[in-house]
């Protein structure tokens, strides 16, 4: 009897849990295609894809007559900090912003794609941009998107409470405040006293347009915590989708925004919250996810499972800083020698599993990239030794270089728990070269402090910024990120790059920047790590234009291939 009671109680528990999670589903097509699973045994040495083998784009997998309808499940790393995604600080908010917020333009491979912003024109003085936005764009509650919203957003985020660079982007990239003026409901001008070439980088990466009619009465201090515009289903969205449901820790459900300026194929788009990289891949295999970032070690498995795979060219700059203020490392010969000792190909093989390419330039995925202007240090230990000996170091009895009683010994600090393997690979590269290479893992905040204060000899250093090199100027000024290397010519070149009137002017300036930085061996340039994204065969991703940052240009052009 008591067993029955217990059983009943357990049943009640399950039912109540389910009741908590009951969701209302609108009628839609019926499909639940399983990813084809061809379990091939893992080879001892997996096939390493060549540069040409893996596409940079997703191709069409099937002919589909009617692309409308259906749902896709994408993946995101964490819960949105604020479901009112405009107020989100960044990680998930960004991906939600791109699908639910009005995005003006997007960069893909250096080319600018118009989205909400239809066309732009620079006048003869080169100081006034005339911008035109689409006329049929509307917020999800039916209100048309007009220039008023744009101008309101610009002014709103210039208020002092917004100390984050994300929101102050247009003043942080640029020394003065551009003047925005409305011409009519769909046209406006941006006026500056010096050329403003980075305006589109701002629009493409960090620009947030918020609906004026929703936020005009929200004071700036309350913006991040306001509950206005936080009820799923009522959130005003300006992108191809609107948020209709949010189950914490599980998923965010977005539905088609009928007022979007273009046709939206999908009925629904889910963002599944999956914080663990391994469970993401599992979910992809079982069909619970349709599209996700793929960890390099899973590449072969994904291939064997017959998934669609596209490749990105990797994060932006990844270099190992060598503190030029350190007595040993201030000698450029030593830094060049280290660059020769560093073996990019080995690093690609061991750390990236062969999935990467040698970086002959300085920063990947940057506009105005000029590898030819850069000095490339090929892996050559003999050359390195020659350079070291040129500076007066001699090998002692232990096989380590010594000069004036001081050993050629450096310590590399890194974030413990994250960069351990890379550090160990680095250390083994320096074995037998006469350099005593120590590694030291530090806790994140400690490491950051040390790096900022210059308390280090060598340190890991990586970042991911927008494509316009103007972004890097602030990093350059924050001297630690560029190994405390400064020079007058370099300072000037950076500014020339930012203020150059034409693209040719800017290119010349940035080529000079890249040349000097590599000639001075400011960093140990690290190879580019390819990133992969994988999708099931039921995803139609070809029209959406996959970008090198793992996002899509046209989220509204994602479609579902029925089984």
């Amino acid at each position: 009897m008591k067993k029955l009671l217990a059983l009943l109680l357990a049943l009640i528990m399950v039912l109540s849990m389910v009741a908590c999670g009951a969701k209302k589903e609108p009628a839609a097509d019926d499909q639940a295609a399983d990813a084809p699973a061809a379990d091939a045994p893992a080879a001892d040495t997996p096939a390493v894809p060549n540069e040409e083998d893996v596409a940079l784009e997703f191709e069409a997998v099937a002919e589909v007559d009617d692309k409308f309808g259906g749902q896709l499940i994408l993946q995101t790393w964490m819960d949105p900090i604020n479901i009112n995604f405009y107020a989100d600080y960044g990680s998930v908010g960004c991906s939600n912003y791109w699908t639910c917020g009005p995005q003006l333009v997007v960069y893909k491979g250096g080319e600018l794609y118009p989205l909400l912003l239809e066309s732009w024109e620079l006048d003869e003085t080169g100081l006034v941009w005339t911008m035109k936005i689409r006329e049929n764009a509307g917020w999800s509650d039916g209100t048309p998107i007009t220039v008023d919203d744009i101008i309101f957003s610009m002014e709103y985020f210039r208020q002092d409470t917004f100390t984050d660079f994300i929101f102050q982007a247009d003043t942080m990239y640029f020394s003065e405040t551009p003047v925005y003026e409305k011409v009519d409901d769909h046209t406006y001008t941006v006026t500056t006293t010096v050329p403003y070439p980075t305006i589109f980088d701002f629009y493409a990466v960090n620009c947030f347009i918020i609906p004026k009619h929703v936020f005009e009465n929200v004071p700036a201090e309350e913006f991040h915590t306001t509950t206005v515009n936080s009820t799923p289903g009522e959130i005003v969205c300006g992108g191809p989708f609107k948020i209709t449901e949010y189950k914490i820790g599980e998923y965010i459900k977005c539905e088609r925004n009928e007022y979007f300026w273009d046709e939206v194929y999908l009925d629904e788009l889910y963002w599944r919250i999956a914080p663990d990289g391994n469970s993401m891949f599992t979910a992809l295999q079982t069909g619970e996810l349709d599209f996700t970032f793929l960890m390099g070690s899973k590449y072969q498995e994904a291939v064997d499972a017959g998934m669609q795979i596209a490749r990105t060219n990797g994060a932006n700059y990844s270099g190992i800083s060598m503190n030029t203020q350190d007595p040993i490392l201030s000698d450029v010969n030593i830094r060049k020698a280290f660059s020769h000792i560093y073996d990019q190909q080995l690093f690609i093989d061991q750390a990236f599993g062969g999935q990467g390419e040698i970086n002959k330039g300085f920063v990947a995925n940057m506009r105005f990239e000029d590898p030819d202007a850069c000095v490339y240090y090929e892996h050559d230990v003999e050359k390195a030794k020659a350079l070291i000996e040129e500076s007066g170091w001699t090998l002692n009895a232990d096989g380590i270089y010594e000069k004036d009683g001081q050993l050629l010994e450096v310590t590399y600090i890194y974030e413990a728990g994250y960069d351990d393997f890379n550090a160990m690979i680095l250390q083994s590269m320096f074995e037998g070269t006469g350099v005593k290479f120590n590694i030291e893992g530090q806790e994140y905040s400690v490491w950051l402090d040390n790096v900022d204060a210059g308390n280090y000899q060598m340190s890991s250093n990586y970042s991911s910024l927008g494509p316009d090199p103007a972004n890097y100027y602030d990093n350059y000024l924050n001297t630690s990120l560029f190994s405390f290397y400064r020079s007058e010519t370099l300072d000037q070149a950076w500014i020339d790059g930012m203020t150059g009137a034409t693209d040719e002017d800017r290119q010349a300036a940035y080529s000079a920047v890249q040349h000097e930085l590599t000639d001075a061996a400011v960093w140990l340039v690290q190879p580019r790590n390819w990133g992969y994204y994988a999708a099931n065969q039921t995803c139609g991703l070809d029209e959406a234009q996959f970008t090198s940052t793992g996002m899509f240009v046209y989220f509204h052009k994602l479609y579902k291939i029925a089984e």
Partner: protein, 317 residues
């Protein structure tokens, strides 16, 4: 219960105890020329349980492997060998590498052995600290009563009313991760059980006749406590101790799994499992072996403790 451990007293007591203890073997009822010691009896009883023997053998093997690790394998635990892991892909078990290699080409068998060193060391040390703190406190509280007892009881309450798992995590996260810190934290948060145990034993034992006799004989209190009463509490503690060591090993592997325990390149079974998560499908041996080792170690400790408990007090079954 055996009241005296000295051998010369065994002979008369054996008769008495066999009358009291009906579960004892027949052979013990008779006078034997050979005097059996206390521990020999226990050991004989211990050997009746196959799992006790198995546990002992496995634990001995593990300890031996841990100590003799440098001799047992030609590899270093942190020697990176790129040729043994081409393209960063861990290699399956083979002739050269008994347990295969990890993504940096380090021999996995070696890492498991050295990981065993760490785990066993941490397990035993942490429990040693717990005993060092717990037993004296228990003795004092149980024997002297009064204010000391009250104080120590409050202390126990404080320590047991806090969420120890949570605090272990927290403290480890805040302190720099190292073996010493892990041992310290595990030791400091786990002694209450032993104190309670010892204290309750003392409370009941101090009224026994032999204590009165010792007092009457004029023995110093400290002698009474440590030489006469305490030994009786130790044997029943063994089960708790063995499970405590097992628990400490599990805690340490949990901490390392979360990244709060041992850091690279020092191997720890928990950290090895964390690193193996990426490769569960393509390189399952990376997660199977460390997990198996943890399970075997803790299990053998539990079995030893259980068999020992049964050996001391067979009636309790």
């Amino acid at each position: 219960m055996y009241l005296f451990k000295k051998k010369h007293a065994e002979i008369p007591l054996k008769r008495i105890n066999s009358a009291v203890d009906p579960m004892q073997d027949d052979e013990d009822l008779y006078f034997s020329a050979k005097v059996e010691g206390y521990w020999t009896t226990i050991f004989k009883r211990f050997c009746r349980h196959w799992y006790g023997i198995a546990g002992l053998i496995v634990l001995a093997a593990l300890i031996f492997c841990a100590i003799a690790a440098p001799v047992l394998t030609p590899y270093e635990y942190d020697k990176i060998d790129f040729s043994a892991a081409p393209m960063g892909q861990p290699q399956p078990p083979s002739r050269e590498h008994l347990f295969g290699t990890d993504r940096l080409g380090r021999d996995y068998f070696t890492r498991c052995l050295y990981g065993g060193r760490i785990s066993l060391l941490i397990g035993f040390s942490a429990v040693a600290i717990q005993l060092l703190i717990g037993i004296p406190l228990g003795c004092i509280a149980g024997y002297y009563r009064g204010i000391a007892d009250q104080l120590i009881c409050r202390f126990i309450d404080f320590f047991s009313c806090v969420p120890s798992t949570f605090l272990i995590l927290l403290v480890n996260a805040l302190l720099k991760p190292s073996m010493f810190n892990v041992i310290l934290v595990l030791g400091v948060f786990g002694w209450t059980g032993y104190t309670r145990f010892v204290r309750s034993y003392f409370l009941s034992l101090r009224e026994q006749e032999f204590v009165q006799a010792a007092k009457a004989a004029g023995l110093k209190e400290r002698t009474i406590v440590f030489k006469h009463i305490l030994p009786h509490t130790l044997t029943p503690l063994i089960l708790s101790v063995s499970m405590g060591i097992g628990g400490a090993i599990l805690s340490e592997s949990g901490l390392s799994y979360l990244g709060l325990g041992m850091q690279e390149p020092i191997p720890s079974w928990g950290a090895m499992i964390a690193g193996a998560q990426e490769y569960t499908n393509s390189a399952p041996w990376l997660s199977v072996f460390p997990g198996l080792m943890i399970t075997l170690t803790v299990l053998s400790l539990c079995f030893i403790g259980e068999a020992f408990r049964q050996a001391i007090d067979p009636r309790a079954n």
